[in-house]
Amino acid sequence: MKNTTKFATIAVASMLLISGCGGSSETASQAVNATSAAELYEAAKAEGKITVYGPTENLYAAVYEDFSAEYPGIEIVTSDIFGQELDARLEGEQVAGGFEADLVHIGVSDTERYNDKGYLASFTPVEADGLDEKFVGPDGSWSVPSQHLYATAYNTKVLSEDEVPTTWAELADSDLAGKIATATPKQSGVTPQVLASALAARAIDEAWVDSFKAEARPKIFPSVANALQSTVTGETAISLVAGYGTYMRQVEQGAPLEFVAMDDGAYYSDVAYAVLDGGPNPNAARLLVSWMFSDAGQASIAKHIFEFGTMPDAPLPAGADKIGNPVRLAYPGAEKYRSTLEMLNTKF
């Protein structure tokens, strides 16, 4: 019961209401066959509302405000929800008569699952000319307007610049013994995802994992956030996995951190929007997704949440020019991720 109460409290606290002048009903309207954002907006105004479910929607508040400034009259309701709770919520909505949410904003591994369940509507963003097709799911079941960069962050008061590793091999070296923080690699999450992507790209191999454990002797924390906090406080020198957005927010608060990507691979994680089939506000949902690929949307994503837009010539988030040009690692697919997780469970 405690867990449930906590969940409900968190969900209420994280709910956002933006541009609160909508008048949507809970009965689903029909998606129009629009080829432009203007056509979508006309239909979306009648709906007046979008509901978005995702793990960190609270971080996107400023982005959604930018959308609302361009397209007034559409209320955006968000819920911070993910994993099994999101699964249960969507199943509950299906049984209760249809989706309450219009969009899910999640990683590609989850969109694959939801597509298999038949949850997702086919939609290709309008006015997204030039978008690489690798950022669109099969039959337009999802689309990826931005990527989140995961690399390492170190404490500048603890580690000098010449001690900072620049390759995966150096990360597993005994020179860093006891200085690296990592979230437990055994538990599904971004850390095993990063390692799976590096393994798939052959930036590391199983021997690297053995060496990392035996030589670098990392300190293991329950989560990526806990690991990074240990680096912020100086308890550890470097965090194996840090999100660029999180790093930037820490720096804004005065944390003595620098961000460094290994030359032979940094993980760019796709963050996808998927339209739920039968959601009550299909046109408003399609408008928001399309806007994310517009110049204004791409700029807003970079500015407010430090993600990397997927459109050609998308502006970089602040400070990203210092990261260099590491090899881009991508999610290797569910099967490779699962086998990596199994391997990591035998090692740690």
Binding site: M1, Q94, G97
Partner: protein, 380 residues
């Protein structure tokens, strides 16, 4: 309300079979519980009925309505199946009031506002939450949230009510209260209900019929009392709380009663569900709560195990006594306040000291089971 007919339903996850050609019929208005440990297939079976899983073969009929038929290419969506479902996680919307949560299925079905108000009122009165209609889920207790979920499930007047471990996140007292509430509401509505649980108290307290699943198959079904008193296999016996298991030799057997030998040549008389072959081996199970311990002079006696108390432990109100005859060990749980558990002259404080020679018998309803052969049970 509706009946359910399931034929030959099967489903695998990778190489693991989770539903192994399951067949099942549920009568209109019947309350059944699917009982079993994690991974036995009970939730997959429920979710297949709901349309949240797609089996690889077989069929599911709700009354005359084929909601899934692999050969006919039918697989209706959860929404089309017109059922109510309660989830373990409640799955409420935190940003909607209690009233709005319960009204949701009716709004989606485009029911008129006046009818929505009347039906939500009726549902919330039924779960005693009309006074909380403007509250938000986050301000309610776990039990209240589950009652909101129950009201939301019944408000569209579904033909079938599905409940997926709805009480597992509640504490013991609340659980017993909600169990009574669910049964009352189901009987009030006359709804057909399928309830998934791994908790035998839920199953015993709610169901007209309990179905025990193992490895994707229904291995036993019947009235709760029949399943709990006379399990047909060692798996079911262990799952429903039997905790003494012995290898045994069948000495003699009729259709309803058998003599078996366990441990150091001790013989017990037992009830059986069918004749066993004399000389065959079987496994016997007896509930520790249904073991009677008596002082004894050590001479062999038919129908009881004569052994020595080798250990004692206090477990809350109970005392757990372990008795050995040198080969077999029997665990007995007795409550010292109830002197009849320790009969024949009585022990000091109703507790035999370690080293005491005692006779151990199964009380009536103690059970013997065979995992691979016909089951037997005590008639002691």
């Amino acid at each position: 309300m509706t009946s359910i007919v399931i034929n030959n339903l099967h489903k695998s996850f990778g190489t693991k079979t989770v539903l192994d050609h399951v067949g099942l019929e549920v009568e209109d208005g019947e309350f059944i519980c699917l009982l079993g440990p994690s991974g036995c297939g009970k939730s997959t079976l429920l979710r297949s009925i709901a349309g949240l899983e797609s089996p690889e073969g077989g069929s599911i009929y709700l009354g005359d309505d084929a909601v899934f038929d692999n050969k006919a290419g039918i697989n209706k969506t959860p929404e089309q199946r017109k059922l109510g479902m309660v989830f373990q996680s409640f799955a409420l919307w935190p940003h909607k009031s209690v009233f709005e949560n319960v009204a949701y299925p009716l709004k989606r079905a485009k029911v008129s506002k006046s009818e929505i108000r009347e039906r939500v009122r009726e549902a919330l009165i039924m779960v005693d939450l009309w006074g909380h209609r403007d509250a938000y889920p986050g301000t309610l207790s776990g039990g209240q949230q589950q009652r909101v979920a129950l009201a939301r499930a019944v408000v569209p007047r579904p033909r079938l009510l599905l409940l997926d471990e709805p009480l597992s996140s509640l504490d013991t007292n609340l659980r017993a209260q909600m169990r009574r509430e669910i049964r009352r509401i189901q009987q009030h509505l006359g709804a057909t209900a399928v309830y998934v649980t791994h908790d035998k108290e839920d199953a015993g307290g709610l169901a007209d019929r309990v179905l025990v699943l193992q490895d994707g198959k229904i291995v036993q079904q019947g009235a709760p009392r029949d399943v709990f008193v006379a399990p047909k296999t060692a798996f079911v016996a262990e799952f429903v709380g039997f905790d003494n298991f012995f290898e045994a030799l069948v000495v003699d057997s009729g259709e309803e009663q058998a003599t078996i030998e366990i441990g150091n040549g001790n013989r017990l008389t037992a009830a059986v569900t069918s004749r066993l072959e004399a000389g065959s081996k079987t496994t016997v199970a007896i509930r520790s709560r249904l073991v009677r311990v008596s002082p004894h002079d050590g001479t062999p006696v038919d129908g009881a195990i004569v052994g020595t108390v080798v250990s004692k432990a206090h477990l809350g109100d109970d005392v757990e006594i372990v008795i050995s005859d040198g080969i077999a060990e029997v665990v007995a749980r007795v409550r010292p306040g109830y002197a009849r558990d320790i009969e024949v002259g009585g022990f000091a404080l109703a507790q035999p000291p370690v080293g005491t020679v005692v006779a151990v018998e199964g009380k009536r309803k103690g059970a013997h089971v065979a995992p691979t052969s016909p089951s037997i049970r005590t008639n002691a």
